[in-house]
Symmetry: C2
């Protein structure tokens, strides 16, 4: 379960031997991406190195409490004037995930690729990939410990944020003994774990709660109670003032009903297109269902964009899920 | 933060020196009460002791997966024929919390009182009280370790259940480094942490989700957005088939809205009585508000039963919260 020691040594050498790094993460950065960017920045500042932290776009406002979060440059607002020979990519499963940041990679730039996705294709000159880690933050926790650098509350808060968000608050199946031991150690550095849980996992905006209510009002169950679904129309979005990101998590409500095997959210995009998100309790491979409609995903979480009107599409998808049950 | 060693020694002596124990917990047992009862039973079985586990009423059906959960006797269904000289009370802050189980305590029974509530008044002959523990399960984790007994998956699952439920899934302010370290160790014994999180923290019944929807449809905010509330009528309960326990957690929805300082749930009991539950984000002492209506509770979670009709009561309570803001 530990991160590979040779890879840790190579990563350390990359950081020690070079200077003037570009630190990047994936497009539309989540908690782990932001936290890992900042943890690498913190590590480089401990080593007295120069570095620039960037992202293709803005980081979520909710994460502005993080140490130096305001120093991650939003390239869509503030393009850089130079390119970098040494780049550190965190939490990017493949090279394309870095998005527009690649414009600032020098030709033949040396890349240190730090990631936990099992599908990572080792695109770096140096790769520190640990597919069993719950988050890239967990790998950075290992790297900092390996390098013998003492944590501070700032970096501990960033690392805890990465663990918390990528494990869904220590609830997903990636919540290993090692994750909990790391969380325990991070709390000892003064991290406000409960405060972070509230901010990142429990807080809702008013439009978010209103659009959730709209969806729940349309909750339907199959006759045998094994399939549950809700839907959202463009009118719901306008009336509640909700943005697309406010729909995150809604699909879990039908999915979490006792007895439901597959929960779904149908989002009407326009008169002739619907986006469906599917979540499985384990029995049904929803990736297969999504693929049959031209979509994709994982066994327990998948999605597809389907042409047609809402009523027809709901009927078709429910029928196809039933076949799998 | 560790449990007091002299108290651990005394508790161990109590278990070693006697036999034929009655193990009881509090009325309307929650996750920690059930888990602690079973963990004590497991410990006694390791010591080769005779014991009887009881509760005043039934244990929640959701917890039937726990080792020997079916051996906790529901005294309302199956009264005992005898009384016990040696009683172990777990998770009971005061003697009255044991409810009807006390009918089976022999006169001058010796009581071992194991609990984590700061208000525990040390009613036992022997007291093992650790107010900084997140759960009674945490104290039992210490006791089992102190006694040098190797954990098994069965008891680890019970202890994890107690930690998980009493910390709200490692989110409340009692989530200490020690809790996370204990959780890490318990997972090493094969506990299905993610499965327990899903079952105990995420799963909803259909009536639960429907009554939540009814409540959310009535969401209101004060003009400045610092107070949010929902309400439930007897008609809502009938229409959705919800029971009182299905209302648990609903008050957190208004409370979790960004900017809200006080969230409230008004439950109409009859034409002339309403029960209000209040939750504070920290600024307002809702216990004081509840007390001013003859209720009580904690600084961040309180409640009261108020005579009057819903509209009047909402107005009064909102006004009284405003004064505190």
């Amino acid at each position: 379960m530990q991160t590979n020691e040779q890879e840790l040594r190579d990563a350390q050498a990359f950081l020690m031997e070079h200077d003037d790094f570009l630190v990047v993460s994936h497009v539309q950065p989540d908690g782990d991406a932001v936290s890992s960017t900042l943890a690498v920045g913190w590590l480089l500042s401990c080593l007295g190195k120069n570095y620039t932290m960037v992202n293709e776009g803005p980081i979520p406002r909710r994460m502005s409490y993080l140490w130096h979060a305001d120093q991650i440059i939003d390239l869509s607002e503030n393009p850089l004037e130079t390119t970098y020979k040494h780049v550190i990519c965190v939490d990017c499963a493949d090279f394309q995930r870095v998005g527009q940041t690649q414009k600032y990679f020098a030709e033949k730039a040396h890349i240190l690729n730090i990631d936990h996705h099992p599908t990572n294709d080792a695109y770096g000159s140096v790769n520190l990939i640990h597919p069993k880690a719950a988050a890239t933050a967990e790998i950075l926790f290992d790297l900092i410990e390996f390098m013998g650098i003492e944590l501070t509350e700032d970096v501990a808060t960033a690392l805890y944020t990465g663990l918390l968000t990528d494990t869904g608050g220590f609830r997903y199946s990636n919540t290993t003994p090692k994750v909990m031991a790391a969380a325990s150690k991070l709390l000892q550095y003064g991290v406000d774990g409960p405060g972070l849980s509230e901010l990142l996992l429990e807080q809702l905006t008013y439009p978010q709660l209103r659009v959730l209510t709209k969806a729940l009002n349309k909750l339907q169950l199959s006759e045998d109670g094994t399939i549950g679904w809700v839907s959202i129309t463009p009118e719901d979005m306008i009336e509640t003032g909700a943005a697309n990101e406010d729909l995150e998590g809604i699909v879990n409500y039908p999915r979490n009903i006792q007895g439901v095997e597959v929960g779904m959210l149908f989002k009407v995009i326009n008169d002739n297109a619907v986006k469906v998100s599917l979540r499985s309790a384990g029995k049904v491979d929803v990736a297969a269902v999504a693929q049959s409609f031209g979509g994709g995903g994982h066994v327990r979480a998948a999605g597809a964009r389907i042409e047609g009107n809402l009523e027809q599409i709901i009927k078709q998808v429910v029928e196809r899920v039933k076949v799998q049950l």
